[in-house]
Amino acid sequence: MDFIAKAVIIGLTEQAPLVLAAMGMALIYNLSKVINVAFAETITLGAYFAQWVNVSFGASFYLSLAVSGILAGVLSCVTYLVVFRTADRRGVGVVEVIIISLGLSVLLRYSLQFVFGTEARFFETPPPTFMKLFDVGFTSFQLTAFILVVVLALLIYLFVQKTVWGRRVRALASDADLAKVSGINPLLTTLVMWFIAGAAGGLAGAFWGVASSAKPGLGWDRFLLTLLVVLVGGTRGLRGVILAGMGTGVLLSALKLEIAPLRAEIVLLVAFILVLKLRGNRFRELAKV
């Protein structure tokens, strides 16, 4: 019981941003039908934007979070307009779009080093209060971050499921031509979704960044896990992504409590690969929103 409690608390507090990141990636995947490798850099830039606002303007972390989400959302829209929309119009194939997104990821990751440098950048936040639950220590900040992530994830879910714009997005993802003749403007709808997806990624990056630091490889280091959560959890829509994200966090913590961290990651990746294999080629029905 103690072990489970530890795994759950650590997993949820440390990996909560994974849920946000996976939701953002799933939204893009569902709508545009491509895995956007450059989403990793949206996460990274979210961390940098938040750190920059926090340190350069003395803003609180929560204000920095809001600004970071907006900037990351805008960046996401720009990458869609400049790269992915162009690829779509030119009829570029799936593998080629993945490679293009890899190129965009590399371009962004190294370009930002000219702006932010290569050293880790730290946030300036007030010292946290330390708490304990079931003998597991965590900070007030981690708790707040977890609650915020839950609220944001819920808001994104409700937006997609219950609002008019969410219906537009789901319709466009389901059948683009039918959506057009039903009165849905595809460009506007797509931009709204890429903005929300980018904001979710940027916010995840900000949460990860404040827990460690903003650095060039922040998003890339978490990209694979985020991708696997989307591919595995996405068959059950956004709810599945949320559950898969939380489950992954808890599982990883549980593994790390028992074995060395690097080996725990290996075991997790092997487990994901096995799930991919068992699921087979039923992925095309996935990422229902």
Binding site: I99, Y110, I266, L276
Partner: protein, 313 residues
């Protein structure tokens, strides 16, 4: 004249090392051409298969004093077994699943090397790995010659594949797998087979890299290698066996040989700005080439152009 010679070849060690890198990328690119350009398998874990061979070779040589040829064979086997398993996993997956699986395999290799420090040395490194022979001062040049030979063999093999029934099967699988299957072609087995064979080649190339660097570090296995290989292949033309060579000359050749050796850059630019700029250029190339000239520099295979001409008539 001697001044020109001195300028061009005055730093033979750096030139040779740059050319090693170039030929390594060419070799990996030819193998990736068979995977991606021919069979349609988007392998984003090239560094992993190459790294598995590199470290298998290194571990056997350093810890177990295994002879060169046996160690090289083991390196190929390591890459091949990993490729077989990966091929089995991805046989049923669509392109997104293949991305995830191949990336996961490469990450697992990297994590395993970092975590099993007792045998891999971890971040401290693993060495020393020497050349299996000694011809004096220019042993490294002889090794480069061997690398040229190996790459030549790979190119010859790739061109032969294109002209063979096996090659047509790979192309059919890559172009339209459901159709190939409906025509009773063993598409899944083909994908598994080509992954195993080409990954064995990648592992062998990894093994051949060990004596070049003498000391192995996990940082040699980063995604930058995969990006370099993919960029070279895409730029040169992923559907052409020579595509990797042309692309590698235009990218790695330009950056790691021409600019690095012959353009007088300040030291801090060379050490910091230059490698970052290189990656920015590679990223941009991937985007622009695939958007505006998806078949790369060399374009389509000559025989396809010829058939198109007939069709037009």
């Amino acid at each position: 004249m001697s001044a020109v010679w001195e300028y061009l070849f005055g730093s033979p060690a750096f030139l040779i090392f740059g050319t090693y890198t170039l030929m390594m990328i060419v070799g990996l690119g030819i193998l990736l051409h068979l995977q991606l350009g021919v069979t349609g398998i988007g392998n984003f874990g090239v560094a992993g298969f190459w790294g598995a061979g590199l470290y298998t070779f290194g571990i056997l040589q350093v810890h177990y004093d295994v002879g060169f040829w046996l160690a090289l064979l083991a390196a190929a086997a390591a890459g091949g077994v990993l490729g077989l398993i990966t091929g089995w996993v991805i046989a049923d997956l669509d392109d997104d699943g293949v991305l995830a699986a191949t990336l996961a395999v490469a990450t697992i290799v990297f994590l395993a090397i970092e975590s099993e420090r007792d045998i891999t040395g971890g971040r401290v490194g693993l060495g020393t790995i020497d050349f299996p022979f000694d011809v004096g001062e220019r042993t490294d040049l002889a090794w480069l010659g061997i690398l040229f030979g190996v790459t030549g063999v790979l190119l010859w093999y790739a061109r032969r594949v294109h002209r063979s029934p096996y090659g047509r099967l790979l192309i059919a699988t890559g172009t339209n797998e459901p159709l190939a299957r409906s025509l009773t072609k063993p598409a899944k087995r083909t994908k598994v087979g080509v992954m195993a064979l080409t990954s064995a080649g990648m592992g062998a190339l990894g093994g051949l890299y060990g004596p070049i660097v003498h000391f192995l570090f996990p940082t040699q296995l980063t995604v930058a290698i995969t990006v370099s290989v993919i960029t070279a292949l895409v730029l040169g033309g992923q559907q052409r066996p020579l595509g990797a060579f042309v692309g590698a000359v235009l990218t790695v050749g330009l950056f790691d040989i021409v600019i690095k050796l012959y353009v007088p850059l300040p030291r801090d630019v060379l050490e910091h700005t230059f490698p970052v700029t290189k990656q920015v250029v590679f990223g941009a190339l991937l985007i622009f080439v695939l958007l505006f000239r998806p078949l790369g520099f060399l374009g389509r295979m000559r025989r396809e152009t010829h058939v198109e001409g007939l069709t037009r008539v």
